[in-house]
Symmetry: C2
Subunit: 157 residues, 2 copies
DNA sequence: GAATCACTACTCGGATAGGGTGTGTCCGAGTATACATGG
DNA sequence: CCATGTATACTCGGACACACCCTATCCGAGTAGTGATTC
């Protein structure tokens, strides 16, 4: 899985901590964790295309959350960054070679693809059940000083 | 996810259909679905290392199932081919840069890693709950003639 | 005729090249701000 | 003093190289069978 998913999730929570008053440039979000700015920008673009973030150009521009954290699921972020394609893709090898299923005009998918699909569905469901607001609360419970530290650093030089 | 997982699963079921009497060379299993023989051999090696298959060298050698299909879960095959590493790996970016959590001597993982871990756990659980015997029965129900066709072709030229 | 031995052919096993998808970087389009200028 | 036009600096957005892992392949180690040879 892409590195960018982790960056995107952290960035969303950081955006929530900074507050909705002003947009935050990608470079500033990147500096907070010493990430390559241009590449983080690429991930944030993906979030903006997915409607999770709103982007503004020019001075005082940047990214801000397009909707509350409670309305953003882990699944939304993963899909925005990674795309909708599942990890397992059936190459339909059963329809090639001497073992080709004769009747398979365009029947149902092979049982292996179905079985892997069930597992991926469980994964997607688990991702969809968790939203970023819950993650934010868990993070604040763990390190209560984190939001204030971020705001101080951000409004500073 | 690797292509090899699909090949490995099909090969295990095909081995069960051919029967435990004799070992099957990788080249013959590959020919059934027109797969690159040497590369399929590589995947079967991984299954052998994991104890799912037993390998024999020399003439009349090849691979055979090391235990009944009912005792082989989808998870076993995926781990054998892909390794135990999960899809999402936390790079611990929260401990780098100005935003480094000060107290984090070696505390619990960040909430994001935990959340992704929960989703992966659901995926693993779904894989572990399904065994290859179930898949074989489903496949036979769908194409009852498949096992006989395979045996005929295999014992032929 | 039976046992022994060397030879052959066949299989796995790991070491060895090539391509595709992330990973990282760069420069251009667009815009809000700030300032200078004129009324 | 106020309005207006212009220049500027800053941001996103997409286009451009690089690297690593999956894919694919090859050759060597080892073994079972086979045939010749000898007692």
């Amino acid at each position: 899985m892409s590195e960018g998913v982790e960056w995107a999730l952290h960035s969303c929570i950081n955006l929530a901590w900074i507050g909705p008053e002003r947009a935050v440039p990608a470079a500033r979000l990147a500096a907070w964790h010493e990430l390559p700015a241009a590449y983080l920008n690429k991930q944030l673009q993906a979030l903006a295309r997915a409607g999770i973030l709103a982007s503004t150009s020019g001075p005082k521009g940047g990214f801000r959350l397009a909707r509350p954290l409670a309305e953003i699921s882990l699944m939304d972020v993963v899909v925005a960054v990674e795309g909708t394609a599942g990890a397992f893709r059936c190459a339909e090898i059963r329809s090639r070679g001497p073992g080709a299923v004769p009747t398979a005009g365009d029947g149902p998918a092979c049982v292996i693809a179905q079985a892997m699909g069930r597992a991926e569905l469980a994964w997607r469901r688990a991702l969809a059940e968790q939203n970023l607001e819950e993650l934010r609360q868990q993070a604040e419970r763990r390190t209560p000083q984190a939001p204030e530290r971020l705001r101080t650093w951000f409004h500073g030089p």
